[in-house]
Subunit: 233 residues, 2 copies
DNA sequence: GGGAAATTATTAAGATTTTATTAAGAGAGA
DNA sequence: TCTCTCTTAATAAAATCTTAATAATTTCCC
């Protein structure tokens, strides 16, 4: 399975150039010209590396990097036109793994990408392609994230996008409680959240219905009163 | 435990300078002016990172890097006077994790060191000296903060959010007395507190009930008269 | 030191508030 | 039109807080 790489740069020529070089190395590229459009990808796709430009029109690269770090540990390479030392140090401090100044030499970029991927995957068995999970399984539940399929005891059940996301997030945090607020923010980015909002509960109900979960003895989604929901390990 | 960093450079001033900066960050530095003398250290010491100059009198930095990679996976940063693209690409291809050209800015070097260590240790639990799990244990009590679980002698007991918070705060201050007022403020931020308020006491009672604590000889939550509550070490 | 008086803590039960579930239907978007 | 999402309102469940009575501990005055 080829590594999946996120590329975000508002200068289309540069993003396109990077894409060409990465494709040439057989990587799967997810290219975006704005941070906002990239955010959805970050929250729904299992990625292996991200290349972010700092100067984006909507959200800057540093912030985007932090957003990634909230839930992921794959390497992040920051690209920038500025060569300021402070900038570099900031970038690296905020969770980036490498910092490359424009204009860069494509082959060096590729070399740094390879180096980061080697560190991330080869030297770190838990991230290696063999154990890599685009398929999340738990008990007799099985989710194929890319295919957007969900099997319950071998039988397919149809989930709406939101239901799918909720179940995926809960499974990714298997064993830990996830608050309604966190679910909300993971799914709808940083929109306003209020406790009066009942949508998460509604979707949870639909999910439990489809999973045949009873409230008094739920097999999958447990309610932790006053805290959130969780799936037991 | 401070991270252990190998520094190899035949230019003594540079090696010494790096050592000063690294010591300043509380790293333990193993400094050598030649590759040969460094080799023994590589084979006998458990290191966390290596900074290697390319132009060494005896064995060049690339070779040294490969020697390290024969048995170790900790990050290697290559230093060089040359800014050639081919060199950089070679270095990164041969197993290095980063490549910095001289003259370099010390703070950038430090930032890159930190970034590499973060990747190596923090993002990769198997190398991390401390467990990442958020578990507080005391006697036959065990709290998993993320899972919002509490085990008493291996058996799960269900605590309400407030009870959970109180027990957590007491355990975090194990050995020290925590006043009712402090508990109150930790849990309900900076709301008004009055001694007439009996809520903390009520929750303490529920907690003791669930923990099977008797008042005359409490195993967990002791009352310090006129002061507060504490859990003995 | 002994013994009220004052202070502080515990207990228990039930009212209140908070939080979660349910169900049905309106609204948006394909 | 159909599915999905979100809202509303009613209901249910659980946790929290209050009250008041009781118990324990300290204070302090003789």
């Amino acid at each position: 399975m080829p590594s999946k790489i996120l590329v975000v740069d508002d200068e289309a020529e540069i993003a396109d150039l990077i894409e060409v070089y990465l494709n040439n190395e057989n990587y799967k590229v997810f290219k975006f010209y704005s941070a906002k459009s990239a955010l959805e990808c970050i929250n729904t796709t299992v990625l292996d590396l991200a290349i972010l430009d700092v100067m984006l029109p909507d959200i800057n690269g540093f912030t985007l990097c932090q957003k990634i770090r909230e839930n992921h540990t794959y390497p992040v390479i920051i690209l920038t036109a500025k060569d300021g030392e402070i900038d570099k140090i900031n970038g690296l401090t905020l969770g980036a793994d490498d910092y490359i100044t424009k204009p860069f030499r494509p082959l060096e970029l590729i070399a740094r990408v390879k180096s980061q991927l080697r560190r991330y995957k080869q030297y770190n068995p838990s991230h290696s392609p063999y154990e890599k999970k685009d398929i999340i399984a738990h008990a007799d539940l099985e989710m194929d994230v890319n295919a957007h399929k969900c099997l319950l005891g071998g039988r397919p059940i149809t989930l709406t996008p939101t239901e799918f996301s909720i179940l995926r997030i809960l499974l990714e945090n298997k064993g830990n409680v996830v608050s309604a607020e966190k679910l909300f923010h993971q799914i709808w980015q940083d929109e306003y959240y209020s406790k009066a909002n009942n949508t998460i509960t509604a979707h949870i109900r639909h999910l439990r219905e489809k999973l045949n979960d009873t409230l008094d003895n739920p097999k999958y989604i447990k309610t932790i009163w006053g805290v959130g929901y969780k799936i037991e390990t």
